[in-house]
């Protein structure tokens, strides 16, 4: 049953030079994520979560250590792993359909417009294919972004506080949407969040980061079936334990 390792990070270290000398941000961090696994990384703000995400997704190079994807060293960002971040990056000058077709380069995709429309429907945006982003709400924009990632059939989704810019209700709604989509197309997901409940609700495994410089402080396996109830005693207990790790 133990699936093959998708992401393997060993001894990653990263620091920045500041006016007041070098600032270590990630300090010898190792973790591995199995194929199809949903791993959440929670940590206090400013602990280096986003730097870690940039390193794993290939946008930044670690000072030390290495990142392997499918056993091969990571060379930079690629459509194999798509980043979905807090502020979103849906192109405002393209329609929903054009956004979804953006990543479909080359000719191996068949009817690109049909594929785009299919994923628009998957995220519940049927009928909005010709709309421009400024005509959509924040929740709908987030759906566009998720759909745009799914179209290129990425093996990994890197989600950096994906729903934290949404209102509370839409945040809850998007969690369920994401789980529904993931049940259909099994992606490996790495979620970075400060929202413990979000992690407990969705992830298979939760890692708690220490304050900067970031290392993994604790790991929790979440053996609860979906759909999860956050009010259940197990979920509450898990939440308590994680918050305790975070010093709350």
């Amino acid at each position: 049953m133990s699936a093959k390792t998708k992401i393997e990070i060993t001894g990653v270290r990263k620091g920045f030079d500041t006016d007041r000398g070098p600032l270590p941000v990630v300090d010898g961090l190792s973790l591995s994520v199995a194929d199809g696994e949903f791993v959440a990384i929670v940590g206090p703000s400013g602990c280096g979560k986003s730097t870690l995400m940039n390193i794993i997704s290939g946008f930044e190079r670690p000072d030390e250590g290495r990142v392997l994807i499918d056993g091969a060293p990571l060379r930079g960002p690629s459509p194999k792993g798509i980043v979905i971040s807090q502020h979103g990056s849906v192109f405002p000058w393209l329609t929903v359909r054009e956004n979804l077709m953006f990543g479909l380069n080359g000719n191996g995709h068949g009817d690109k417009a049909a594929l785009a429309d299919h994923y628009a429907a998957v995220v519940g945006l049927k009928g909005f294919e010709r709309s421009y982003p400024h005509e959509l709400s924040g929740g709908m924009l987030k759906r566009v972004e998720i759909a745009r990632a799914l179209v290129v059939k990425p093996e990994i989704l890197y989600m950096d506080e994906p729903f934290s810019a949404l209102d509370a209700l839409m945040n809850l709604r998007m969690r369920n949407e994401l789980l529904r989509i993931l049940a259909e197309e099994r992606h490996t997901v790495l979620l970075i969040t400060h929202d413990v409940e979000e992690a407990v609700y969705m992830a298979d495994r939760i890692m708690v980061l220490s304050p900067r410089p970031a290392t993994i402080q604790a790991t929790f396996h979440v053996d609860l079936p979906h759909p999860r109830r956050l009010g259940s005693p197990q979920a509450q207990q898990l939440r308590e334990d994680i918050l305790k790790e975070l010093g709350l």
């Binding site: 798509i82 502020h87 982003p133």
Partner: protein, 263 residues
């Protein structure tokens, strides 16, 4: 029913909005008229004399020739400036070496009034059509370069990152991300450039040439103190400037640049 009433309301609102500026214009015209009558000026015309003077020129066709000549010079110089400024601005914005190398000289040339170039233009190109076209080019090319470059520099990183994430080629990155992201700034540059171009063509035509609205103004004064035509020329210049700006503003309604103005 409600739809037609909605349109009626919108029209009504626009009319109401147009009233104060129209009232100001009417007041200025009234004051002008009153002052001319009051002072019994022999030279300065009343608004009505300006209208009849303009109609006279319109009827014998010379007015249209002057307008056409000025618009042709602006159009040619401005198009040339666009063809040079937009690619150059994109290049300078994208390649920092190009920016570091070229920006200082452009920043130095930019504050020189295009009027200061008139002697050089006459020296180099004589008093034909080329001189004003050159002056328009000079006046509108720098604002457009600067705006385009600034537009590239202010592209939000998250869009470039997303493009990098999807692994698109440089050509696609440029066509689908960089250019559309900069387009609103390019349009701003075009508005500034066209405004300056119109300002300059009239000034350039005052110095030399035998056609154009600037020439018409100078010629009316020199040939018999026809101040009615001088003022008619000024008003026409103002109106055409307004129309040109309105035309470039229409570009802001393009679906692909609307995002910049709604949020």
């Amino acid at each position: 029913m409600s739809a037609t009433r909605g349109i009626g309301n919108r029209l009504g609102r626009r009319l109401v909005l147009a009233l104060p500026p129209l009232a100001v214009i009417a007041a200025v015209v009234a004051l002008w008229w009153w002052l001319v009558v009051r002072t019994d000026s022999a030279i300065f015309p009343t608004p009505w004399q300006v209208v009849t003077g303009a109609l006279e020129l319109a009827q014998d066709g010379t007015l249209w020739e002057h307008i056409g000549a000025s618009l042709f010079r602006v159009g040619t110089g401005f198009l040339l400036a666009m063809v040079v400024a937009i690619p150059l601005g994109l290049w300078m914005g994208w390649v920092s070496g190009a920016y570091i190398t070229l920006n200082p000289i452009f920043q130095m040339l930019r504050p020189i009034s295009p009027i200061a170039w008139i002697p050089l233009a006459i020296l180099w190109f004589g008093v034909g059509n080329v001189s004003p076209i050159f002056l328009i080019f000079i006046s509108s090319v720098f604002p457009m370069i600067v705006q385009t470059t600034a537009g590239v520099h202010t592209i939000e990183r998250r869009y470039l990152r997303a493009a990098a994430n999807f692994g698109v080629s440089r050509a696609v990155l440029f066509r689908r991300v960089v250019i559309p992201a900069v387009l609103p700034q390019i349009i701003v540059g075009m508005r500034i450039g066209l405004g300056v171009a119109w300002l300059v063509v009239v000034a350039a035509e005052m110095i030399a040439l035998r056609s154009g609205l600037g020439y018409m103004i100078m010629d009316s004064r020199n040939a018999g103190n026809r101040y009615d035509l001088v003022i008619a020329g000024m008003i026409i210049i103002g109106l055409i400037g307004l129309l040109l700006d309105g035309a470039t503003r229409l570009l802001e309604r393009l679906k692909t640049v609307r995002w910049r103005y709604v949020r």
